[in-house]
Symmetry: C2
Subunit: 204 residues, 2 copies
């Protein structure tokens, strides 16, 4: 089901059907904006349909339930993050801490990916259904694959704690905006966090 919902790219193989493809994409973009601005709970399929200028039945037709619209919206928005395991796996294991730190900070520094990240964080913090989507998508697809690359017996807990350092940094810097972290030079943050993340993943 989530495969169907996230299947925009796969449609490229089909004969071009511009109008319906455009409509589907417009609904997805609108859904992402609505979830970003209002969070999961306050967003409705009706509201997304209205903002996208389509009938609510069309939203249901393309995506199914609100939970499935949410999953499709964050799956598209999160495509870069879902490539994390490849991105960080591409290089020596003793530099994985720096690659992972740069990768995650890069996602948050870029306004285009920051908005959907904020939407996911806000929704997952507030709503159990959204948290479950987050766990399924991020935890299962990203964290467990990083853990497989680390390959130690307690790799999964190690990856969770490394992720905790990066998630907490993103929370305080980009969401709560605590100073001086919020205004610190990204390179200064990488210099301090890369060894910590490395230590979590491959240290004693």
């Amino acid at each position: 089901m989530s495969g169907e919902a996230g299947g925009t790219t796969r449609r490229r193989g089909r004969p071009p059907r511009t109008e319906s493809g455009d409509t589907r994409d417009r609904i997805l973009v609108t859904a992402r904006e609505e979830f970003s601005e209002r969070g999961y709970e306050k967003t409705s399929v009706r509201g997304i349909a209205k903002a996208a200028g389509v009938d609510p039945a069309l939203v249901h037709h393309y995506f199914g339930t609100k939970e499935q619209v949410f999953e499709a919206a964050i799956e598209v928005a999160f495509a870069p993050a879902l490539r994390a395991p490849e991105a960080i796996g591409d290089g020596p294991l003793d530099e994985v801490g720096e690659r992972l730190t740069r990768f995650i900070l890069g996602l948050w520094e870029n306004p285009a990916s920051r908005t959907p990240l904020l939407a996911i964080v806000r929704s997952a913090v507030n709503n159990e259904t959204a948290a479950a989507v987050f766990r399924r998508l991020i935890a299962a697809q990203v964290l467990s694959r990083v853990a497989a690359q680390v390959g130690l017996p307690d790799a999964e807990l190690r990856v969770d704690l490394a992720a905790a350092q990066l998630v907490g940094c993103a929370m305080l810097r980009y969401v709560i905006k605590v100073e001086p972290l919020a205004s610190a030079d990204p390179e200064q943050i990488v210099a301090r966090l890369a060894p910590v993340v490395q230590g979590h993943l491959t240290g004693p």
Copy 2:
């Protein structure tokens, strides 16, 4: 203003006025519950008044605006966390990482303090006003005082990054409930995080 709003304890110096004190406390407890369950945005002074069985004017009389009710509610709920600088300052500097880690995990492990913590996290993530209250109360009162104890030139950034590790752990373990972190033994977490927090605070 926030001094007035958080002034429950100071009222002890006045002649006992049990009835109004009880009413004020009941409003505070109700406010904390409402903010916990609904978050900052969806909670209203009217809703708090209704749940506490009082007139909305009485809530305004005791606390002022919704922002001030929120600040008073989290200030009371957060009294233990606001004692963090004393708690962790009480011992050798080379064990401050373990003391801070145990202190923060202890707050989250205890259901009585976890509920208001969740309320603050949820509200601060979702609402700029609540985030500002969070920054004022936690960042200024807790983080900057820990930084003063560390005493290094870049102590404030160090404390933010140590806090980021602990905040991120709390997010993934208690809010999003990512496994295996959510079910890990607290002692195992302390063993892994205490050296990291110590390194942030006093390391190279």
